[in-house]
Symmetry: C2
Subunit: 231 residues, 2 copies
Protein backbone atom coordinates (compact mmCIF):
# COMPACT_ATOMS: atom_id res chain seq x y z
CA UNK A 1 0.00 0.00 0.00
CA UNK A 2 1.19 3.45 -0.91
CA UNK A 3 0.78 6.64 1.04
CA UNK A 4 -0.84 8.24 -2.04
CA UNK A 5 -3.60 5.64 -2.26
CA UNK A 6 -4.37 5.74 1.45
CA UNK A 7 -4.34 9.46 2.01
CA UNK A 8 -7.56 10.87 3.33
CA UNK A 9 -9.82 12.13 0.56
CA UNK A 10 -12.10 15.16 0.81
CA UNK A 11 -15.84 14.64 0.60
CA UNK A 12 -16.18 15.82 -3.00
CA UNK A 13 -13.10 13.87 -4.05
CA UNK A 14 -14.47 10.69 -2.47
CA UNK A 15 -17.87 11.20 -4.08
CA UNK A 16 -16.17 11.70 -7.44
CA UNK A 17 -14.18 8.52 -6.91
CA UNK A 18 -17.29 6.49 -6.05
CA UNK A 19 -19.12 7.84 -9.11
CA UNK A 20 -16.13 6.94 -11.31
CA UNK A 21 -15.95 3.45 -9.79
CA UNK A 22 -19.70 2.94 -10.29
CA UNK A 23 -19.50 4.05 -13.93
CA UNK A 24 -16.56 1.70 -14.45
CA UNK A 25 -18.64 -1.22 -13.18
CA UNK A 26 -21.69 -0.08 -15.19
CA UNK A 27 -19.58 -0.26 -18.34
CA UNK A 28 -19.61 -4.05 -18.01
CA UNK A 29 -22.88 -4.83 -16.24
CA UNK A 30 -26.30 -3.21 -15.87
CA UNK A 31 -26.55 -0.91 -12.82
CA UNK A 32 -29.26 -3.09 -11.26
CA UNK A 33 -26.80 -6.02 -11.26
CA UNK A 34 -24.05 -4.07 -9.46
CA UNK A 35 -24.19 -4.05 -5.66
CA UNK A 36 -22.99 -1.39 -3.23
CA UNK A 37 -20.63 -4.05 -1.82
CA UNK A 38 -18.90 -4.34 -5.19
CA UNK A 39 -18.59 -0.58 -5.49
CA UNK A 40 -17.16 -0.37 -1.94
CA UNK A 41 -14.65 -3.14 -2.69
CA UNK A 42 -13.57 -1.58 -6.00
CA UNK A 43 -13.13 1.77 -4.26
CA UNK A 44 -11.16 0.16 -1.41
CA UNK A 45 -13.49 1.40 1.31
CA UNK A 46 -16.11 -0.17 3.57
CA UNK A 47 -19.79 -0.45 2.70
CA UNK A 48 -20.85 1.83 5.61
CA UNK A 49 -18.41 4.47 4.37
CA UNK A 50 -20.14 4.43 0.95
CA UNK A 51 -23.37 5.29 2.75
CA UNK A 52 -21.56 8.12 4.47
CA UNK A 53 -21.10 9.77 1.06
CA UNK A 54 -24.41 8.73 -0.52
CA UNK A 55 -27.52 8.20 1.61
CA UNK A 56 -28.62 5.21 -0.51
CA UNK A 57 -27.90 3.07 -3.53
CA UNK A 58 -30.35 5.04 -5.64
CA UNK A 59 -28.60 8.37 -4.88
CA UNK A 60 -25.20 6.99 -5.90
CA UNK A 61 -26.59 5.42 -9.07
CA UNK A 62 -28.44 8.58 -9.98
CA UNK A 63 -25.29 10.67 -9.43
CA UNK A 64 -23.38 8.26 -11.68
CA UNK A 65 -25.99 8.42 -14.45
CA UNK A 66 -26.07 12.24 -14.12
CA UNK A 67 -22.28 12.30 -14.57
CA UNK A 68 -22.65 10.05 -17.63
CA UNK A 69 -25.35 12.33 -19.06
CA UNK A 70 -23.10 15.37 -18.60
CA UNK A 71 -20.17 13.60 -20.27
CA UNK A 72 -22.36 12.55 -23.19
CA UNK A 73 -23.77 16.05 -23.68
CA UNK A 74 -20.22 17.46 -23.61
CA UNK A 75 -19.28 15.25 -26.58
CA UNK A 76 -21.83 17.00 -28.79
CA UNK A 77 -19.84 20.23 -28.63
CA UNK A 78 -18.04 20.67 -31.96
CA UNK A 79 -16.27 23.75 -33.39
CA UNK A 80 -18.30 25.67 -35.97
CA UNK A 81 -15.70 25.14 -38.66
CA UNK A 82 -15.67 23.24 -41.90
CA UNK A 83 -18.45 21.34 -43.70
CA UNK A 84 -21.51 20.36 -41.63
CA UNK A 85 -21.35 16.73 -42.75
CA UNK A 86 -17.79 16.40 -41.45
CA UNK A 87 -18.74 18.06 -38.13
CA UNK A 88 -21.67 15.69 -37.72
CA UNK A 89 -19.45 12.70 -38.47
CA UNK A 90 -16.95 13.76 -35.76
CA UNK A 91 -19.81 14.07 -33.26
CA UNK A 92 -21.08 10.61 -34.24
CA UNK A 93 -17.59 9.19 -33.69
CA UNK A 94 -17.44 10.69 -30.19
CA UNK A 95 -21.02 9.51 -29.53
CA UNK A 96 -20.10 5.92 -30.41
CA UNK A 97 -16.90 6.24 -28.35
CA UNK A 98 -19.12 7.05 -25.39
CA UNK A 99 -21.55 4.21 -26.16
CA UNK A 100 -18.62 1.82 -26.58
CA UNK A 101 -16.97 2.88 -23.30
CA UNK A 102 -20.12 2.89 -21.19
CA UNK A 103 -22.04 -0.08 -22.64
CA UNK A 104 -24.68 -1.14 -20.10
CA UNK A 105 -24.38 2.25 -18.37
CA UNK A 106 -25.45 3.92 -21.63
CA UNK A 107 -28.39 1.51 -21.98
CA UNK A 108 -29.45 2.24 -18.38
CA UNK A 109 -29.27 5.97 -19.06
CA UNK A 110 -31.38 5.68 -22.23
CA UNK A 111 -33.86 3.03 -21.18
CA UNK A 112 -34.29 3.90 -17.51
CA UNK A 113 -34.69 0.60 -15.75
CA UNK A 114 -35.15 -0.51 -12.17
CA UNK A 115 -31.95 0.98 -10.71
CA UNK A 116 -33.27 4.53 -10.50
CA UNK A 117 -36.76 6.01 -10.86
CA UNK A 118 -38.22 6.51 -14.32
CA UNK A 119 -39.05 10.17 -13.82
CA UNK A 120 -35.49 11.07 -12.83
CA UNK A 121 -33.93 9.03 -15.64
CA UNK A 122 -36.33 10.61 -18.11
CA UNK A 123 -35.29 14.08 -16.97
CA UNK A 124 -31.60 13.16 -17.41
CA UNK A 125 -32.06 11.78 -20.89
CA UNK A 126 -34.38 14.59 -21.96
CA UNK A 127 -31.56 16.95 -20.96
CA UNK A 128 -29.10 15.06 -23.17
CA UNK A 129 -31.57 15.10 -26.09
CA UNK A 130 -32.13 18.82 -25.64
CA UNK A 131 -28.37 19.44 -25.60
CA UNK A 132 -28.01 17.48 -28.86
CA UNK A 133 -30.91 19.41 -30.42
CA UNK A 134 -29.51 22.81 -29.42
CA UNK A 135 -26.04 21.94 -30.72
CA UNK A 136 -27.45 20.97 -34.12
CA UNK A 137 -29.57 24.11 -34.34
CA UNK A 138 -26.52 26.21 -33.46
CA UNK A 139 -24.54 24.56 -36.26
CA UNK A 140 -27.40 25.27 -38.66
CA UNK A 141 -27.32 28.89 -37.38
CA UNK A 142 -31.09 28.84 -36.92
CA UNK A 143 -32.71 30.56 -33.96
CA UNK A 144 -36.32 30.19 -35.12
CA UNK A 145 -36.52 26.66 -36.54
CA UNK A 146 -39.68 25.76 -38.48
CA UNK A 147 -41.73 22.88 -36.99
CA UNK A 148 -40.62 20.53 -39.79
CA UNK A 149 -36.94 21.12 -39.00
CA UNK A 150 -37.56 20.44 -35.32
CA UNK A 151 -39.25 17.17 -36.35
CA UNK A 152 -36.31 16.17 -38.55
CA UNK A 153 -33.65 17.00 -35.94
CA UNK A 154 -35.41 15.50 -32.93
CA UNK A 155 -36.54 12.37 -34.74
CA UNK A 156 -33.00 11.90 -36.10
CA UNK A 157 -31.63 12.15 -32.53
CA UNK A 158 -34.04 9.38 -31.57
CA UNK A 159 -32.84 7.37 -34.58
CA UNK A 160 -29.22 7.77 -33.43
CA UNK A 161 -30.13 6.62 -29.89
CA UNK A 162 -31.95 3.54 -31.14
CA UNK A 163 -29.18 2.70 -33.58
CA UNK A 164 -26.59 2.89 -30.78
CA UNK A 165 -28.68 0.75 -28.41
CA UNK A 166 -29.19 -1.89 -31.12
CA UNK A 167 -25.50 -1.80 -32.01
CA UNK A 168 -24.57 -2.47 -28.35
CA UNK A 169 -26.71 -5.62 -28.45
CA UNK A 170 -24.16 -7.88 -30.13
CA UNK A 171 -22.12 -5.29 -32.06
CA UNK A 172 -22.92 -7.14 -35.27
CA UNK A 173 -22.35 -4.19 -37.58
CA UNK A 174 -19.07 -2.19 -37.63
CA UNK A 175 -19.62 1.03 -35.70
CA UNK A 176 -17.73 3.12 -38.27
CA UNK A 177 -20.37 2.08 -40.83
CA UNK A 178 -23.18 3.21 -38.53
CA UNK A 179 -21.48 6.53 -37.75
CA UNK A 180 -21.35 7.36 -41.47
CA UNK A 181 -24.84 6.00 -42.08
CA UNK A 182 -26.32 8.21 -39.38
CA UNK A 183 -24.84 11.28 -41.07
CA UNK A 184 -26.36 10.12 -44.35
CA UNK A 185 -29.63 9.37 -42.57
CA UNK A 186 -29.72 12.97 -41.34
CA UNK A 187 -29.30 14.18 -44.90
CA UNK A 188 -31.92 11.71 -46.17
CA UNK A 189 -34.53 12.69 -43.56
CA UNK A 190 -33.92 16.40 -44.20
CA UNK A 191 -34.24 15.83 -47.93
CA UNK A 192 -37.49 13.86 -47.63
CA UNK A 193 -38.91 16.71 -45.53
CA UNK A 194 -37.59 19.24 -48.06
CA UNK A 195 -39.59 17.45 -50.76
CA UNK A 196 -42.75 18.52 -48.89
CA UNK A 197 -41.93 22.03 -47.77
CA UNK A 198 -40.28 25.06 -49.37
CA UNK A 199 -38.72 26.39 -46.17
CA UNK A 200 -37.08 23.01 -45.51
CA UNK A 201 -35.90 22.95 -49.11
CA UNK A 202 -34.28 26.36 -48.54
CA UNK A 203 -32.54 25.17 -45.38
CA UNK A 204 -31.23 22.03 -47.09
CA UNK A 205 -30.00 24.06 -50.09
CA UNK A 206 -28.17 26.46 -47.75
CA UNK A 207 -26.43 23.54 -46.00
CA UNK A 208 -25.47 22.13 -49.39
CA UNK A 209 -23.98 25.40 -50.53
CA UNK A 210 -21.32 25.11 -47.81
CA UNK A 211 -20.51 21.45 -48.49
CA UNK A 212 -17.49 20.46 -50.54
CA UNK A 213 -18.06 18.41 -53.69
CA UNK A 214 -16.48 15.39 -51.99
CA UNK A 215 -18.22 15.94 -48.62
CA UNK A 216 -20.58 13.70 -46.66
CA UNK A 217 -23.77 15.39 -47.82
CA UNK A 218 -23.16 16.75 -51.23
CA UNK A 219 -23.60 13.66 -53.31
CA UNK A 220 -26.44 12.06 -51.34
CA UNK A 221 -28.51 15.20 -50.82
CA UNK A 222 -27.85 16.54 -54.28
CA UNK A 223 -29.54 13.54 -55.82
CA UNK A 224 -32.41 13.58 -53.30
CA UNK A 225 -33.08 17.26 -54.00
CA UNK A 226 -33.51 16.42 -57.67
CA UNK A 227 -36.55 14.29 -56.75
CA UNK A 228 -39.93 15.54 -58.00
CA UNK A 229 -42.53 16.44 -55.38
CA UNK A 230 -44.41 13.32 -54.21
CA UNK A 231 -47.88 12.93 -55.72
Amino acid sequence: MTTGARRRMGVEERRDQLIAVALGLFSHRAPEDVSIDEIAEAAGISRPLVYHYFPGKQQLYEAALRRAAEELAARFVEPHEGPLGARLLRVMERFFDFVDEHGPGFSALMRGGPAIGSTRTSALIDGVRQAAYEQILAHLALTDPPPRLELVVRSWISLAETTALLWLDGRRVPRAELERQLVHDFAALAAVSAAYDDRMAGIVRRILADEPADGMFADLVGRLMALPQPV
Copy 2:
Protein backbone atom coordinates in the same frame (compact mmCIF):
# COMPACT_ATOMS: atom_id res chain seq x y z
CA MET B 1 -82.38 6.96 -16.43
CA THR B 2 -82.94 3.86 -18.51
CA THR B 3 -83.16 0.27 -17.37
CA GLY B 4 -80.36 -0.59 -19.83
CA ALA B 5 -77.91 1.87 -18.28
CA ARG B 6 -78.70 0.80 -14.74
CA ARG B 7 -78.76 -2.97 -15.20
CA ARG B 8 -76.23 -4.84 -13.15
CA MET B 9 -72.96 -5.42 -15.06
CA GLY B 10 -70.84 -8.53 -14.75
CA VAL B 11 -67.31 -8.16 -13.34
CA GLU B 12 -65.56 -8.36 -16.72
CA GLU B 13 -68.07 -6.05 -18.31
CA ARG B 14 -67.61 -3.49 -15.52
CA ARG B 15 -63.83 -3.71 -15.74
CA ASP B 16 -64.05 -3.20 -19.51
CA GLN B 17 -66.27 -0.18 -18.94
CA LEU B 18 -63.86 1.37 -16.43
CA ILE B 19 -60.91 0.80 -18.78
CA ALA B 20 -62.84 2.44 -21.64
CA VAL B 21 -63.81 5.38 -19.41
CA ALA B 22 -60.19 5.81 -18.26
CA LEU B 23 -58.90 5.73 -21.85
CA GLY B 24 -61.55 8.29 -22.81
CA LEU B 25 -60.29 10.64 -20.09
CA PHE B 26 -56.64 9.92 -20.99
CA SER B 27 -57.38 11.06 -24.54
CA HIS B 28 -57.70 14.61 -23.19
CA ARG B 29 -55.41 14.70 -20.16
CA ALA B 30 -52.32 12.87 -18.95
CA PRO B 31 -53.13 9.82 -16.78
CA GLU B 32 -51.37 11.35 -13.76
CA ASP B 33 -53.80 14.29 -13.94
CA VAL B 34 -56.91 12.08 -13.94
CA SER B 35 -58.26 11.01 -10.54
CA ILE B 36 -60.15 7.87 -9.59
CA ASP B 37 -63.02 10.17 -8.55
CA GLU B 38 -63.32 11.44 -12.12
CA ILE B 39 -63.28 7.93 -13.52
CA ALA B 40 -65.95 6.86 -11.02
CA GLU B 41 -68.12 9.84 -11.91
CA ALA B 42 -67.75 9.32 -15.65
CA ALA B 43 -68.62 5.64 -15.21
CA GLY B 44 -71.64 6.54 -13.04
CA ILE B 45 -70.46 4.47 -10.05
CA SER B 46 -69.03 5.25 -6.62
CA ARG B 47 -65.33 5.55 -5.85
CA PRO B 48 -65.36 2.50 -3.50
CA LEU B 49 -66.97 0.44 -6.26
CA VAL B 50 -64.06 1.30 -8.60
CA TYR B 51 -61.73 -0.19 -5.99
CA HIS B 52 -63.93 -3.29 -5.94
CA TYR B 53 -62.93 -3.92 -9.57
CA PHE B 54 -59.33 -2.68 -9.41
CA PRO B 55 -57.31 -2.90 -6.16
CA GLY B 56 -55.66 0.47 -6.77
CA LYS B 57 -55.27 3.38 -9.13
CA GLN B 58 -52.10 1.93 -10.59
CA GLN B 59 -53.81 -1.38 -11.51
CA LEU B 60 -56.62 0.41 -13.34
CA TYR B 61 -54.19 2.71 -15.17
CA GLU B 62 -51.96 -0.18 -16.11
CA ALA B 63 -54.96 -2.17 -17.41
CA ALA B 64 -55.98 0.88 -19.49
CA LEU B 65 -52.49 1.32 -20.95
CA ARG B 66 -52.34 -2.43 -21.65
CA ARG B 67 -55.63 -2.17 -23.55
CA ALA B 68 -54.25 0.80 -25.50
CA ALA B 69 -51.07 -1.15 -26.31
CA GLU B 70 -53.15 -4.08 -27.62
CA GLU B 71 -55.30 -1.78 -29.75
CA LEU B 72 -52.22 -0.09 -31.17
CA ALA B 73 -50.53 -3.40 -32.01
CA ALA B 74 -53.74 -4.58 -33.72
CA ARG B 75 -53.58 -1.59 -36.09
CA PHE B 76 -50.28 -2.81 -37.50
CA VAL B 77 -51.99 -5.87 -39.03
CA GLU B 78 -52.33 -5.30 -42.78
CA PRO B 79 -53.23 -7.78 -45.55
CA HIS B 80 -50.23 -9.05 -47.55
CA GLU B 81 -51.62 -7.66 -50.78
CA GLY B 82 -50.48 -4.96 -53.15
CA PRO B 83 -47.34 -2.82 -53.13
CA LEU B 84 -45.39 -2.60 -49.87
CA GLY B 85 -45.32 1.22 -49.92
CA ALA B 86 -49.12 1.38 -50.07
CA ARG B 87 -49.42 -1.16 -47.25
CA LEU B 88 -47.03 0.85 -45.09
CA LEU B 89 -48.96 4.05 -45.81
CA ARG B 90 -52.25 2.43 -44.69
CA VAL B 91 -50.55 1.30 -41.45
CA MET B 92 -49.20 4.82 -40.89
CA GLU B 93 -52.72 6.24 -41.39
CA ARG B 94 -54.12 3.85 -38.76
CA PHE B 95 -51.15 4.62 -36.46
CA PHE B 96 -51.86 8.36 -36.63
CA ASP B 97 -55.59 7.67 -36.15
CA PHE B 98 -54.64 5.97 -32.89
CA VAL B 99 -52.28 8.78 -31.87
CA ASP B 100 -54.96 11.36 -32.73
CA GLU B 101 -57.68 9.54 -30.77
CA HIS B 102 -55.59 8.78 -27.70
CA GLY B 103 -53.45 11.92 -27.42
CA PRO B 104 -52.04 12.11 -23.86
CA GLY B 105 -52.80 8.39 -23.37
CA PHE B 106 -50.46 7.62 -26.28
CA SER B 107 -47.76 9.86 -24.80
CA ALA B 108 -48.12 8.15 -21.42
CA LEU B 109 -47.83 4.75 -23.09
CA MET B 110 -44.68 5.76 -24.97
CA ARG B 111 -42.94 7.89 -22.37
CA GLY B 112 -43.92 6.06 -19.22
CA GLY B 113 -44.41 8.72 -16.61
CA PRO B 114 -45.45 8.77 -12.99
CA ALA B 115 -48.89 7.14 -13.38
CA ILE B 116 -47.55 3.60 -13.64
CA GLY B 117 -44.13 2.09 -12.97
CA SER B 118 -41.41 2.46 -15.56
CA THR B 119 -40.62 -1.25 -15.77
CA ARG B 120 -44.24 -2.18 -16.54
CA THR B 121 -44.70 0.63 -19.06
CA SER B 122 -41.44 -0.36 -20.72
CA ALA B 123 -42.65 -3.95 -21.08
CA LEU B 124 -45.92 -2.75 -22.66
CA ILE B 125 -44.22 -0.50 -25.16
CA ASP B 126 -41.52 -3.05 -25.95
CA GLY B 127 -44.37 -5.43 -26.82
CA VAL B 128 -45.88 -2.87 -29.21
CA ARG B 129 -42.48 -2.26 -30.84
CA GLN B 130 -41.91 -5.99 -31.22
CA ALA B 131 -45.37 -6.40 -32.82
CA ALA B 132 -44.53 -3.63 -35.30
CA TYR B 133 -41.16 -5.21 -36.06
CA GLU B 134 -42.63 -8.66 -36.65
CA GLN B 135 -45.37 -7.29 -38.91
CA ILE B 136 -42.82 -5.53 -41.09
CA LEU B 137 -40.60 -8.61 -41.30
CA ALA B 138 -43.64 -10.71 -42.28
CA HIS B 139 -44.45 -8.24 -45.09
CA LEU B 140 -40.85 -8.43 -46.27
CA ALA B 141 -41.22 -12.26 -46.16
CA LEU B 142 -37.92 -12.52 -44.25
CA THR B 143 -37.49 -15.05 -41.48
CA ASP B 144 -33.75 -14.62 -40.99
CA PRO B 145 -33.21 -10.85 -41.21
CA PRO B 146 -29.60 -9.64 -41.47
CA PRO B 147 -28.48 -7.37 -38.58
CA ARG B 148 -28.54 -4.31 -40.84
CA LEU B 149 -32.19 -4.88 -41.74
CA GLU B 150 -33.08 -5.25 -38.07
CA LEU B 151 -31.32 -1.92 -37.44
CA VAL B 152 -33.21 -0.22 -40.25
CA VAL B 153 -36.63 -1.56 -39.22
CA ARG B 154 -36.27 -1.03 -35.47
CA SER B 155 -34.70 2.41 -35.79
CA TRP B 156 -37.46 3.42 -38.24
CA ILE B 157 -40.07 2.29 -35.69
CA SER B 158 -38.40 4.57 -33.16
CA LEU B 159 -38.45 7.38 -35.74
CA ALA B 160 -42.20 6.88 -36.25
CA GLU B 161 -42.81 6.99 -32.47
CA THR B 162 -40.82 10.19 -32.02
CA THR B 163 -42.47 11.80 -35.04
CA ALA B 164 -45.93 11.00 -33.62
CA LEU B 165 -45.04 12.33 -30.14
CA LEU B 166 -43.66 15.55 -31.62
CA TRP B 167 -46.72 15.91 -33.87
CA LEU B 168 -49.01 15.63 -30.82
CA ASP B 169 -47.19 18.56 -29.23
CA GLY B 170 -49.02 21.32 -31.09
CA ARG B 171 -49.99 19.45 -34.31
CA ARG B 172 -48.10 22.08 -36.30
CA VAL B 173 -47.56 19.88 -39.37
CA PRO B 174 -50.46 18.15 -41.22
CA ARG B 175 -50.52 14.50 -40.17
CA ALA B 176 -51.13 13.30 -43.75
CA GLU B 177 -47.78 14.82 -44.69
CA LEU B 178 -46.03 12.98 -41.87
CA GLU B 179 -47.71 9.67 -42.73
CA ARG B 180 -46.34 9.87 -46.28
CA GLN B 181 -42.96 11.16 -45.10
CA LEU B 182 -42.53 8.23 -42.73
CA VAL B 183 -43.07 5.80 -45.62
CA HIS B 184 -40.46 7.71 -47.61
CA ASP B 185 -38.18 7.78 -44.56
CA PHE B 186 -38.37 3.99 -44.42
CA ALA B 187 -37.31 3.80 -48.05
CA ALA B 188 -34.55 6.36 -47.48
CA LEU B 189 -33.11 4.57 -44.42
CA ALA B 190 -33.21 1.21 -46.22
CA ALA B 191 -31.51 2.76 -49.25
CA VAL B 192 -28.74 4.39 -47.16
CA SER B 193 -28.09 1.00 -45.55
CA ALA B 194 -28.17 -0.67 -48.99
CA ALA B 195 -25.40 1.69 -50.09
CA TYR B 196 -23.15 -0.04 -47.50
CA ASP B 197 -24.16 -3.67 -47.79
CA ASP B 198 -24.87 -6.06 -50.65
CA ARG B 199 -27.48 -8.12 -48.80
CA MET B 200 -29.42 -4.95 -47.92
CA ALA B 201 -29.12 -3.86 -51.56
CA GLY B 202 -30.64 -7.20 -52.61
CA ILE B 203 -33.54 -6.80 -50.17
CA VAL B 204 -34.25 -3.26 -51.34
CA ARG B 205 -34.11 -4.35 -55.01
CA ARG B 206 -36.57 -7.18 -54.31
CA ILE B 207 -39.00 -4.73 -52.64
CA LEU B 208 -38.65 -2.41 -55.62
CA ALA B 209 -39.37 -5.17 -58.11
CA ASP B 210 -42.90 -5.48 -56.65
CA GLU B 211 -43.58 -1.73 -56.56
CA PRO B 212 -45.62 -0.04 -59.29
CA ALA B 213 -43.96 2.74 -61.30
CA ASP B 214 -46.24 5.29 -59.61
CA GLY B 215 -45.95 3.73 -56.10
CA MET B 216 -44.69 5.23 -52.85
CA PHE B 217 -41.20 3.72 -53.10
CA ALA B 218 -40.34 3.39 -56.71
CA ASP B 219 -39.32 6.91 -57.52
CA LEU B 220 -37.54 7.76 -54.26
CA VAL B 221 -35.67 4.48 -53.83
CA GLY B 222 -34.84 4.15 -57.51
CA ARG B 223 -32.85 7.37 -57.37
CA LEU B 224 -31.20 6.48 -54.05
CA MET B 225 -30.10 3.09 -55.40
CA ALA B 226 -28.31 4.86 -58.23
CA LEU B 227 -25.99 6.49 -55.65
CA PRO B 228 -22.34 5.43 -55.75
CA GLN B 229 -20.89 3.72 -52.68
CA PRO B 230 -19.78 6.28 -50.08
CA VAL B 231 -16.04 6.79 -49.92
